[in-house]
């Protein structure tokens, strides 16, 4: 008998490539947006902005590792 509920690897592996500080005015949102648009130049890009710290003061910009994705 084995417990598998939380052992399936269902999420693509993603890597943080930069963060954005929500409450600091020296972090430029235009640069952040440009970076995301640049990432979308790549085929099959998967960009994840859903991760942040507990108070959502720091937003992570994560991308999926290319090797994890293949056309079905």
């Amino acid at each position: 008998m084995s417990d598998t509920t939380n052992t399936d690897d269902v999420e693509p592996v993603t890597t943080t490539i930069r963060t954005f500080a929500v409450r600091r005015d020296d972090d430029d949102l235009d640069v952040f947006a440009d970076m995301i648009v640049g990432l979308l130049d790549h085929d099959r890009a998967l960009v994840d902005l859903s991760r942040h710290d507990q108070r959502a003061d720091i937003i992570e910009l994560r991308v999926a590792q290319p090797g994890r994705r293949s056309k079905r």
Binding site: D3, V37, A45, D48, L49, A56, R69
Partner: protein
Amino acid sequence: MRNAVFLVKNGIGFGHIRRALLIAEAVQDAGRLRPILISQAGSLALYHNTPVRVVNFPLLHRVPSAIAEDLYTDLLNRLLDRLDPAAVIEDTYPDARYRRLPALADRPRLLVMRRLDGLSFDQIRQRGDFAYYDQILIAQDRDAFLQEGHSGESLAAVESSGRFTFVGNIAFAPTAADVAAARTAYVPDGAPLVVVNGGAGGDQMPDGYGDRLFAACQTIAARLAEEGHPARFVLVTGPYYAGRQLHETANVTVRRYEPHLPALLAAADVAVIKPGNNALSEALTGTGQLVLVPDVSFMEGLDEHAHRIAAQFGGAVGTPDRNSLEPLIRDALTRKPRTARLAPSATALDTVAHAIHRHAQSTPEAKVRPKLLLLVLIAPHSIQPDKLRAQLPDSLQSAVVLDSRQEDGGVVGLASLTRIMRGSPMAALVDCDPREVSPQQLVDRGVRLLIETTPSPVVERWLRRQPPTSALLTTSAEPIKAVPSCPDAFQRRTTRLLRSGAAVVVLLDLGDLPQPAVADYLSTIGEWAARQPLHLAGVDAILAEQADRLLTGRLG
């Protein structure tokens, strides 16, 4: 290549994202637009294998601070501004957040809708949320939509506004090879296969639906194993499942996420499912017996839907507990394969992709629509309506002659309705007490629009007390008596009416004209109308105007 942006979010399930991905992949395959999916989702599992570009945000209404929510919204706007989408496609729930984004203003916008219960559809319609879309594509066929219990106003809006299109169900259809592979993977020995799935595993209410469903099925599987029953259970919990830990046993396999779930559901001998659109569609492509376990649903009316499906395709409806499910699963395991199947629409994806491409095409210039005039002529006694219609000058070919034989878009007087049985009039003029017939009888004859010259409490009560299945929309008409040698009276009145309204119905009574004067009179007003910035509209255009008002929150 221009971008087509899909805006989609999922709180507890995967349905919206799966549908959006199917459409986006069809658009990508067509090679004319670059689809980009912008989602709000807690899991990226569905994006493992898609070739479509994805930007995933958190569920914006759930981020822990208003400042972060504002920042994410600002970022979304800047992103959309840079992507400059040629078309924007949303799924099912019109979202006020998107509506307020400056970057989306004045873009071609489409809404793809899955089934909604009647009350929810009414609420969205009455809030005016549908009015922001150029086209609304309903992922159902018309007959299925009519079974949902929608209000007469909603049916009228869908039928006549010109904004809605039925495209048929959109769901992934596994191939026979996929289904065979799923059986080989899970029951290589050919044992009966029971697949249990509650969608992506999230709960609409804090009632532990998933926990109760899977715990019950695990217990039932254990009891069958004790009896030596060969059935094998596969529990696909979904990544949002947060119930008790489940344990694999000799006859139980547990998966948080199964990328081949459509094939697995189609391969099942018994599918125990929450009857959301995807799981149900996929199970219906197969021949397994259905045990439908509706959960509290958001705008879907799953309980009623489950009973309708069970009656139509066979199957049973239960609750997520052992006492309910054990006899249903045992019974289902004794039954032969289900014969009533439902394949997803073969044309739905193409229809949606075509609509996206059509709206994404840039038009050389936007055109302001001219004012609309529905001119209904009442023939003089000396001329039969059909004869008058045949004599209309070219400039008045779009005018309608009351009680004339007209295949499409005719207008009949209620007083003549029982006498004139030919044709299918689209509108009826209230020219007598309406209570001789019921509103439903009019609708059954094809009438969709009532034309009144004065608002009548009798008509209002008549409509309210016997509401037909599809609402009869009403419009007012200006009665004008044609005066011999004085066509300018008609011209002045019509001009005044059109000054304050975009669409006007005029009831022009030619009864006082001597027969020889009719042709000249009509030629004069026809030539005048041709010189004006107006369009002689048919009944369908006025009906569409009225139906569109049902989408803007001004009526209904």
